[in-house]
Structures are given as C-alpha cells and as structure tokens.
Symmetry: C2
Subunit: 215 residues, 2 copies
C-alpha cells in the first residue's frame, strides 16, 4: 500500500487560499500569488500542455510530488464551482478543461451524489458521499501500489490530518501574507498531530518544507 | 542607522507561544517545544552561562541573529509577569535572573511607567509608555550604528510589522502544532506587508526562513 500524502502552497500566515473564493477568483483574493513560484516552471507548464519554462530547485520538488501517484482526493470546494449547491445540472466539470492535468482517478469529497465524470487523458472524477475514509479506501484501491495524494483544499487536508490518516505533508511556503482565507491546520480538534521535519529546499520565491506524520 | 529586525520561533501553525501563558509556563501550553531546537546548542548554552552543547546548522543562524545588535525591544507580556497588572511593587525583574542574556539596553513596551532597571552584565530594562515609535527611537539611539532587535512576543512584532517599521524577519519554523496561542501576523489590519525571501537554512528539528520587508 502506498502513502497518503499532500503538498500544498501556503502563505507565510498559514492560508492555502485567500478570502472570498469565486468563479473568477478560485483561490480567493490574493490567492493566485500562492502559485507565483510554480507557474513559470517548465515542469508545471509541461503538465498543463505548454512548452518552455524555468528549471530551478523547485522543479525537483514538483516532480517528486507528482511521481508515483496513482489516485487523488480533493475537497468539493477545490473541484468547484464555488457558488456551491448541488451540481445536478451536470454542467460543471471542474476548473481544468476537458483534459485535466491529473491523468488518474480523482475522488471528490461531497455531500451531493453524482455519476463519475470521465475526462480526456485518463482523469476520472468520482464523487464520494460517504466520508473521508471511504474516499481514501476507494482511492487506495484505484492507486494500487502507488501513493494517493490530497490536492486540497485546506478542509480536506485538515480532515485527513485530524483523522491521523496522512503520512506525509509538503508545504510550499510562499512569502505572502493573505490575512484571511482558508487556513491549514485549523479545526484539528483534539487530534494529536505529531510531525517530523524531513527536509527543506530553498528555491526562488518559495521554500519547500517536507514533514512526516508520526503515529 | 542599523536595521530593525526580529527572529522568533514559530510553530508550523503560526503561533509563537501556546495558550494560557502563566508564570509556571511563560511560553504557554506546549510552547516550550518551540525552543527544543535551540536549547541544546552550544551558542545558546554559552549565552546563558553553560558549557558544552551541539554545533549544527542552527548555530550560524543564532550567531548571526545576535551579531551587531545594540539594543532590543520587548513586549510587556514577554518581560512578564504574565499575571499582568502594574508592577509598582517593584519586585519583578524579568524571567532571566540577575544577569539577563542581553547585555544591552532593552526597551519594554508598556502602559505602566517604571524606573529603569539596571541588571548585571550590561542589561538595562527601560519601560516605555508613549508608544512603539518612541520605543524604537530610544532603542535606535541606544544602539548607535548597530541594529535593534525585537525579542517578541507576537503582539510587539505584529505592531512593528503593521507600522511598516520592520526591516528583516527570521522565522525559526518548528514542526509542532500548538492549535492556539499568540499568533504572528495577526491584527495587521490594512497594512500592506510585502516580504521577500532572503534565505532558508535547514537544521535538525527546525528550518530558518529569513525575509526582507519591502517598502
């Protein structure tokens, strides 16, 4: 069985999205600055169908984060639309166009059932309504020996953290203050979450901090 | 004129002290874990009058933080006692015994006037009641060409951040979640604080992130 891991861009004041997320502004006000470090990278551009781009210390980190991943988990807000409500009109297919950059099954945590959505390029969105453990079980089965990654958002990662199910967390710490928004490490309740620092990688405009969750 | 800088240990969830600070627990519940990385260091032990200790990547960071400092600023809660109230009984002289590890003038931000307190070894505590800018002016004058450092706590650093007076901030990011307590980067209001990453140093049990404040 692979690991359950997550890597996520986070502001220096602890937010993984800014306030007032909207269809125009999926990462909230100021939240797009969380990705300033990744968008210029050749590794990111390639996975989104573009050529060229920069290669720096972040490239290795991004490649490692994408390696050996067989399935993913995703919160309902990250899948969208942020206007909320059930999606029984069947129109919304995520933020990523017809060929999302995943190329494996993605399990969406939601309260609203919906048939699986098969996209181009190997990505299928599955909608799981019976809780985070069921979603993880399904993702693990789909991933086989490979790892399962949590793409976010904050609430999804926090839930798996609080449940003691996460094995590894990599934070891309961006020198930005958002002041408000979706906070990582929030609402962990009485969960005793123990972390061990694995490594730190300094790169232009970001530092990558990797932690192992200790059981 | 030197810089105004601060370096402070911070939990991964953004707290520089845990909840319920008390005389028995000056860093709040769990807060002593914020210093697990520094206490074993030879550099720390020496500045507190002990011999021996470890030398690792943190040593250089601690030495640099202490170098070229001519005066310091400190919040009233960090000076103590946490029971609060005016200190007109004149008994409380800080947490650090007769010979505090500063050896330069320290300016305490407070609403309660008190005569300066001259300690052994060159540390004098001055109590400033007319605001953070006045305290900074006095500290700069005392420091001469050297830098002024803010020792904490969160509120003091946040106030200087919000006022746009800080030049450099070094965070010692510790793999600990405190869940509650004194949060850095809180109550910055409408201040637009812009940071530029200067460097990251990975060390056992901590990563040191240095930022420059951009005007």
């Amino acid at each position: 069985m692979g690991k359950l891991r997550s890597d996520i861009s986070i502001s220096l004041d602890g937010f993984v999205a800014g306030p007032n997320q909207s269809e125009e502004n999926p990462l909230g006000e100021g939240g797009e600055r969380l990705h300033d470090w990744v968008v210029p990278l050749a590794a990111w551009r390639e996975s989104h169908g573009y050529e060229g781009g920069e290669v720096n210390e972040s490239a290795r980190v991004v490649e490692e984060a994408r390696e050996n991943v067989g399935a993913a988990l995703m919160g309902r807000n990250m899948f969208g639309p942020p206007s909320g409500g059930p999606w029984d009109d069947g129109q919304w297919t995520g933020w990523w166009g017809d060929d999302p950059p995943y190329h494996y099954p993605v399990f969406i945590l939601t309260h609203h059932p919906r048939d699986p959505l098969e996209m181009e390029g190997g990505t299928t969105f599955h909608f799981v309504t019976d809780g985070i453990e069921s979603a993880l079980d399904q993702a693990r089965e789909a991933a086989g020996a490979k790892d399962v990654t949590i793409w976010g958002g904050a609430q999804a990662v926090n839930q798996y953290l609080a449940a003691g199910l996460l094995d590894e967390l990599e934070l891309h710490v961006v020198p930005v203050l958002l002041g408000d928004g979706a906070r990582l490490f929030d609402n962990l309740g009485d969960a005793e979450v123990k972390l061990e620092q694995v490594r730190a990688v300094e790169a232009p405009g970001v530092t990558h901090l990797r932690y192992r969750l200790v059981r």
